[in-house]
């Protein structure tokens, strides 16, 4: 059986369709991602229960993940309930993969 080690998709990807990941529970973040009909910029719309104190850090985590997958032309709607950094990155990554139809090992 072949073993895949890295599952990063191809570069410069635009989401194929709307997708979401995460929940509205405390310590979690709900990420909605959808393709934008524009010149390739990403738009992040963040609302957070700890926005006053952490909006920059949350935006940085989201942006980092988008850059890692070289995502372009996406709108990200993030509703945060105090998620920690590893959770934010996990939810963005899950949503990105789902929007690219690259998620693995799950029922849809």
């Amino acid at each position: 059986m072949p073993i895949k080690i890295v599952i990063l998709p191809e570069k410069n990807m635009q989401p194929v369709h709307k997708a979401q990941a995460g929940t509205f529970e405390s310590s979690d973040i709900m990420i909605l991602i959808e393709p934008l009909d524009n010149d390739g910029d990403n738009h992040i719309e963040l609302s957070s229960s700890v926005g006053k104190q952490f909006k920059d850090q949350i935006n940085r985590d989201i942006t980092e993940l988008l850059q890692k997958y070289e995502i372009t032309g996406a709108r990200i709607i993030a509703k945060d309930k105090g998620a920690l950094s590893p959770t934010i990155k996990a939810r963005v990554e899950t949503a990105v993969l789902r929007s690219l139809d690259k998620q693995q090992g799950t029922l849809k």
Partner: protein, 518 residues
């Protein structure tokens, strides 16, 4: 500007408060043996024999008290979030066109939010209280009142009344049972709320006293927690509040695993502190991890066959059960948290109702907190010097209560603060707290789910707890650990305007609350 003993800048004076004395240390002012400030005499009144105190309505009673602009009106908060009387009375005063009222309620709860328009319109221009929450708290932090609000402790409030800082013109005292002469209690009746301890000083000192009840009983009302010789008028109303919210369900032992874990760790610290022996006296808060400590202490007392001396403070039915099981010999009750407690006050002579002065006023020959072995308290934030904030939230809003926090911390042999190390994403253990209510010098241990921090002044205690195998961490290390988990929050932006002050129990100013930048 002067700096107080915590190196916090305190203005020399403020409009609406006059000269401010900076905080000097937990026990500095007590060491002298008496209070430097002059006391004012309580109101002395007279009344002809066989005249009636009964009024047909609260409005009539208030009118008879001759209300004036700039007057101080006081209330107790024993009805908690079920209270109807404060809002009713303030509405009557507003309708009479009275303005510039100083509101002196022992605390403010969510039930009091309808007075927000009166604050906005200047009908209420200043607040003295041990706690402010919700929409009123947000408004206070925005600085909408003319004069700075004052947050005091339960013990400190008594001192403020006796020194005339709070000069009560009209005390409106809700009671769940009262007679026609004004003997009144909270211990029975359909709206029973237990101890009426915070109102006792108001009854004694106020220029005029109105007792309001929804349960007028045949003379005499027993027990006479408030006595007739202080009462001017008595009013019977349909209801003093929502009985369900008066006996709120906040006092069940939590099922939240994190709170239980913290409580378990705190109970282990107590058991190994050297104080866990016969004759122990004990106080816990009513909510979350703090009350849950009682569960584990109860189990341990049974296991080790320990009988305590007394339980103090805010009393829950859990405490009453411990009294009935013989685990403690007495309860001293300044405030009760549920309906079952009321019956116990009524029926058990060892469940003793006390006033706030006996509970915690620093300036007398020994309040009860002076005899307290262990207190378990909560916190909104704790800093690396063990200073505790229980009043302002992470966004700078006023959303808590000083209550008996700084009183009991100053009195108890062992003051334990229980809190999670972070909440949501907000760090609780911080380099610096937004505001100090209880100074770190009066805090011995902070118990979090990620470790127990012992104030470095208690070297022996730290060794005992380490020897018992507890997870002891330096608070500075815990702060760094938490910071790594949550990230560093952006600071709250304030203007330079002082909108409120936090008074220490001895009347000095421990911190100021600045206006939030919009």
């Amino acid at each position: 500007m002067a700096r107080n003993a915590l190196n916090i800048e305190i203005p020399e004076k403020l409009d609406g408060l006059g000269a401010l004395e900076p905080y000097q240390g937990v026990w500095t002012k007590l060491q002298k043996g008496w209070m430097s400030e002059q006391t004012v005499p309580p109101a002395i009144k007279a009344r002809m024999p066989h005249t009636s105190k009964m009024c047909d309505s609260l409005e009539e009673a208030i009118l008879k008290c001759n209300p004036q602009d700039g007057m101080t009106v006081s209330f107790h908060h024993h009805l908690r979030s079920g209270d109807d009387i404060l809002v009713q009375a303030m509405t009557i005063l507003a309708n009479m066109g009275i303005k510039d009222i100083i509101l002196a309620s022992s605390s403010l709860t969510s039930a009091h939010e309808p007075i927000l328009p009166f604050i906005e319109q200047g009908i209420i221009s200043q607040i003295y209280s041990s706690g402010i929450r919700g929409a009123i708290g947000e408004a206070c932090a925005r600085g909408i009142m003319k004069k700075p609000f004052v947050i005091h402790s339960h013990g400190g409030r008594v001192r403020s009344v006796q020194t005339g800082k709070i000069k009560i013109d009209l005390a409106i005292i809700a009671a769940s049972a009262a007679d026609e002469e004004g003997n009144a209690t909270g211990s029975h009746g359909p709206s029973a709320f237990g101890s009426i301890g915070y109102a006792m000083i108001d009854a004694w000192y106020a220029k005029q006293v109105v007792v309001v009840t929804d349960n007028l009983v045949d003379y005499p009302c027993v027990p006479p927690s408030i006595r007739q010789n202080y009462v001017d008028y008595v009013v019977e109303v349909d209801s003093i509040g929502d009985a369900k919210k008066i006996a709120s369900g906040t006092t069940r032992i939590t099922k939240a695993p994190l709170d239980l874990r913290i409580a378990k760790l705190a109970s282990e610290a107590i058991i190994h502190s050297g104080l866990f022996k016969n004759g122990i006296s004990f106080q816990v808060g009513a909510g979350g991890a703090s009350l849950a400590v009682a569960k584990f202490v109860r189990e341990a007392m049974k296991k080790h066959e320990i009988v305590g001396s007394f339980l103090l403070g805010g009393v829950t039915s859990y405490g009453v059960n411990m009294l009935n099981e013989g685990l403690f010999r007495a309860i001293f009750d300044v405030q009760s948290f549920d309906a079952a407690v009321s019956q116990s006050i009524m029926n058990n002579p060892y469940h003793i109702e006390i006033g706030a002065a006996l509970y915690a006023n620093p300036f007398n020959c020994g309040c009860m907190i002076n005899k307290l072995d262990i207190v378990v308290l909560g916190a909104l934030e704790v800093d690396v010097n063990f200073n505790v904030n229980v009043i302002t939230g992470s966004e700078g809003d006023v959303r808590g209560a000083s209550g008996g926090h700084s009183d009991t911390a100053a009195g108890a042999n062992l003051t334990i603060v229980v809190c999670p190390s972070f909440r949501g994403r907000l760090p609780i253990i911080k380099k610096k707290v937004n505001n100090v209510v209880t100074p770190g010098d009066s805090v011995d241990i902070v118990v979090t789910e990620r470790g127990i921090c012992v104030n470095p002044k208690n070297i022996e205690l730290e060794q005992k707890l380490k020897k018992a195998g507890l997870n002891i961490k330096k608070i500075q290390d815990l702060e760094i650990e938490v910071d790594k988990i949550t990230g560093q929050p952006d600071p709250i932006e304030h203007t330079d305007k002082v909108v409120g002050v936090i008074e220490y129990r001895d009347g000095t100013i421990i911190d100021t609350i600045k206006q939030i930048k919009e």
